[in-house]
Subunit: 602 residues, 2 copies
């Protein structure tokens, strides 16, 4: 990653300017640091949560949720701090675009590379351990087991954190850029102030996340989300009143845009829950379709996933239209700020899940009392739902952020319009959509390829280390981590480089140029968002359809429907954990690259 | 269908004008007639081809290919005839838009309804017959067997024909509309003349489609395609010279655009062959992935399908850019004319396949000599490849036709630009993409639902008709045909009505309007074309991966890889025969609807 960052920093220093290169490095360092600290805390909290679970549900929730809160505060705090310091020092929103690019680079590695890594480790160790060697999951004799555990933290904690860090920072920078042309200084610093209010609101709301023994965990966590949203709305009213005032846009236009964004974020989360939770019809339909075999399970899952795009897209379109109506294109950008203002709460709710999950594993291995496992199971099962909601939120915020960045790009590029009756723009639309497809195809295949390197290594260790199977010798866990990391990074090079190079190339080719690049960003945005929602929800629905059957429905574990559901779940793994989330990064990264490199296209 | 057509005709007569309503009815009648005659001839040619196969390969090819040629000539001849008569009588390209809408309506029923019907009948009769009752495929005791056979003709002959009839007519009308603003009468009738030249070229080329005993059938059929393309190019040179002349556009700009379209059509066919034939790497990769079970087969197939969009989209983009460069937006439309000029040859090559397929079935049932079956098998295996090529061509031509119709829409709507920095247009892009997703999800589920009605009926007949299983009583075939037809039509209502109503609604809602509708058409075009290529190729590749294994590779029939490949093939069935081709219709239909109803949006 350092090599890639160094190359980009040099390119920026030579072709753009040195301050942009500096902003870039700062963004990358802060995002990486947030991810690093978040993962450290998550890892340390695993056993502590298991221990706290001996005292009951609330103490365990407190430890796990605190760990998630740390990650959330890292993302929001570092993101806002770095950007504020940078802007107050340099005072040029164009130069600080580099900061967002730095955040994007880390997101690319954590979400795309991490996504390939985590599923490759998962598939590889399961295949050799469970199927070939016939030992249980998470058995310490399996050389790939540590690589697999590392993957859970990489994907769910660091990946999600870096993704939202990128959205958070990207939406602020886009809004600041658009703010210059709106009405100067106040509209430039408004996003920083709203975001600061969001952090305060999240801290306030986190005190309300506490459970009694018989509490419904879902509503406890939801309380946190709703309270933080409500507080942000109240604070925003006064902030907008002070900074922008009435009547500059249509009445309290900017305020309405913030509310539209916030509400859209919460709604998308609820819709995602409907499509991926086994309490509702879509997941039950997939389980039902498993009765006639794996093919109908797959068709049903693909269909549910595609259908699940309808409501979120309508919500996004409504947020766009409302915020545009009240406050123009600046309104669309500030809606993204509104949606992301409570990001620390969203990350907290999302990142507590893997901690609870691992706490359960530790309780099992350390042979704690069965009541402990009951508590952690309760926490974990809620964690699956919050993970799905978090994914929906990540896509929704990526969509609005990309749109804001796209608007900032057209502003900086001096394009008064991007006209799709122009053949170059239509070509750009097609190329943008195409990149999203290629990216998906590549990341999906990458999991298989990276897994096969790991499989070879685990087999080798079983074969060559004497006494391993009998538990007398230890496997070389580190080698497996190393090999899957290298394989994942290798698979990441092609899509990563393409996402950086193609927008710049399209911008530079005289036959295409700035307009075609605008089309490309539009095409990638529409196709990428649809595909990301579809894949994340299909994957989540397949997963829970399997769990629904395992809970004893339709024949339960080991039945024919269960076997069919396992096929769906396996297909869904790269859908929801690799390709789907990677698309969030793709659409944002290409927009930021275009924004940063726009000076070259004149 | 008549009811639906009647309602639309009345709506047109009341809200647009009576001549448009008349054009609409004429277009619908001629397209339906072409499909009807084509299916009649195809059905009659089945046994004749079997009989001719007793005399060798060339006589059999001659009969089968003549049958395909009939369909091809019906499509091109009726399409061109109706349009020419209409234009020469009414002399108003705007009024004759109704003609394209009529063609679209038939395409909707034949391709979408037909696509649901054919796969529902296929899945339904296989499931009860082969799996539950344990009798062979095509066994006359199975009540669904006739419904299944009917489906082959509906999907491959009538569906494909109506799809290309729509493209053929739609691209001509779009070009004529754009021709008015280019330079008047000559540019308006040029598409008619080029298309006429295409028919002559196809007739000429069809004389070269003859095989010797040891001929490579692929190259024999390809010869027809190449010769017809070459002749069109030569004729076009003189036609453009006479009608438009040098220097009006850039040099022989219009001529270059025609060539760009023609070459693009042939290239897309070749690329499709690469991705779906078992001679090449993609299909072999899917077969290889079947070794680790159905999940990896599915992931590999989805990935190949998505990756297969890259080259066709690049070809389409290149054709757009080249033709736009040389002859502006009129050039893009005339490129579609060039691509579709040899449509009669394309349909002929495509539609001979199902005839050869059914000839083989008849040879089997009539217990003809094994040499006969060898001949028909040779013809049939080539038919699978030409079917895949035909599907690629249908998508490519749908893409260019929709683009031309889109341009005609903006012209008639008086939009000087459709600006994607406008929030309404971005919203339109999202809604357009969303419709394509919903349409796909719905058609895929529809197959399952329609199949289940048929399954209930076949089971009932096995249960209630005494002596059926012993071959002493005949099943009621007609009821099965009736039931699957009704079920398919029922499933078609929602997507069909949506495709008609949503564009009109978006155009009428003041908050959205003409610009947002432009965005909608753009979004549907990009997402629809990508999705259509992906689904058609993934389906074709899964099919041939299964056949590759059945040919004795990787363990052959009955092995574990074969079982995995069967799962992929089953998922691929609605991909390639229902949802994928339906998207061609969707993008064209929505463009034509917008074009016809544009007077309402002022």
């Amino acid at each position: 990653m350092a090599i890639f960052a160094l190359i980009l920093a040099i390119v920026l220093a030579v072709f753009i300017d040195k301050l942009t290169a500096f902003s870039f490095v700062l963004g990358a360092v802060l995002s990486a640091l947030a991810g690093y600290i978040g993962m450290m805390v998550a890892t340390m909290s695993n056993s502590r949560t298991a221990q706290a679970a001996r005292a009951g549900l609330n103490p365990a929730l407190k430890v796990a949720f605190s760990s998630g809160t740390t990650m959330g505060m890292m993302v929001a705090g570092f993101g806002l701090l770095g950007l504020s310091v940078l802007y107050l020092t340099i005072k040029d929103p164009v130069v600080i675009n580099g900061y967002a690019l730095g955040a994007s680079l880390i997101a690319l590695f954590a979400r795309v590379g991490g996504g390939i890594y985590t599923k490759a480790a998962d598939v590889g160790s399961d295949l050799v351990g469970k199927i070939e060697a016939g030992i249980p999951e998470d058995d310490p004799r399996n050389a790939g087991v540590i690589a697999d555990n590392v993957g859970d933290n990489v994907g769910d904690v660091a990946g999600m954190g870096a993704d939202l860090f990128e959205s958070y920072v990207g939406s602020m920078i886009a809004t600041m850029t658009l703010g210059i042309v709106s009405f100067g200084f106040e509209s430039v610093i408004l996003p920083l102030v709203i975001s600061a209010a969001g952090i305060l609101a999240s801290i306030f709301a986190s005190f309300f996340v506490r459970a009694k023994k018989d509490s419904n965990l879902g509503s406890v966590l939801e309380r946190g989300t709703w309270i933080s949203a409500l507080v942000v709305i109240i604070l925003s009213y006064f902030i907008v009143d002070k900074f922008i005032g009435m009547g500059v846009f249509k009445g309290f236009g900017v305020f309405y845009a913030i509310v539209a964004g916030l509400v859209a974020g919460v709604l998308i989360g609820k819709i995602t829950e409907y499509y991926t939770s086994d309490h509702f019809k879509p997941v039950k339909d997939i389980a039902e379709a498993s009765k006639t075999g794996p093919a109908t399970n797959i068709i049903s899952g693909l269909s549910v996933g595609m259908r699940s795009t309808v409501l979120p897209i309508i919500v996004i379109v409504a947020a766009i239209l409302v915020s545009y109506h009240f406050a123009g294109i600046y309104g669309v950008a500030i809606a993204a700020i509104g949606m992301l203002s409570t990001v620390s709460m969203t990350v907290a709710v999302d990142a507590y899940g893997p901690v609870a999950d691992n706490a359960g594993g530790i309780a099992e291995m350390a042979q704690l009392e069965p009541e402990v496992r009951q508590v952690t199971d309760q926490l974990d099962s809620m964690g699956n739902t919050t993970a799905a909601i978090g994914k929906g939120f990540a896509i929704g915020s990526a969509a609005l952020t990309s749109l804001a960045l796209f608007a900032a790009y057209t502003e900086v590029a001096g394009l008064s319009s991007i006209d799709i009756t122009d053949a170059r723009v239509v070509s750009g639309l097609f190329i943008g959509g195409l990149i999203a497809y290629f990216f998906t195809a590549h990341t999906m295949q990458a999991v298989g390829k990276a897994a096969s390197s790991l499989i070879t290594e685990i087999r080798r260790q079983f074969r060559e280390i004497t006494g391993l199977m009998e538990g007398k010798a230890k496997p070389e866990y580190a080698r497996c981590v190393d090999i899957s990391t290298k394989a994942a990074l290798k698979e990441m090079i092609v899509p990563g480089v393409l996402a950086v190079v193609i927008p710049i190339a399209v911008g530079l080719i005289p036959f295409l140029g700035k307009e075609a690049l605008g089309g490309l960003l539009g095409g990638a945005l529409v196709v990428g968002v649809l595909q990301a929602i579809y894949m994340a929800n299909a994957g989540g629905a397949w997963d829970n359809a399997k769990k629904y059957i395992e809970a004893g429905n339709l024949g339960g574990k080991g039945s024919e429907p269960h076997k069919a559901a396992v096929v769906g779940d396996t297909v869904g793994d790269p859908f929801k954990d690799t390709s789907g989330p990677s698309l969030n990064i793709l659409i944002k990264l290409m927009s930021i690259i275009s924004l940063v490199f726009v000076p070259l296209f004149f």
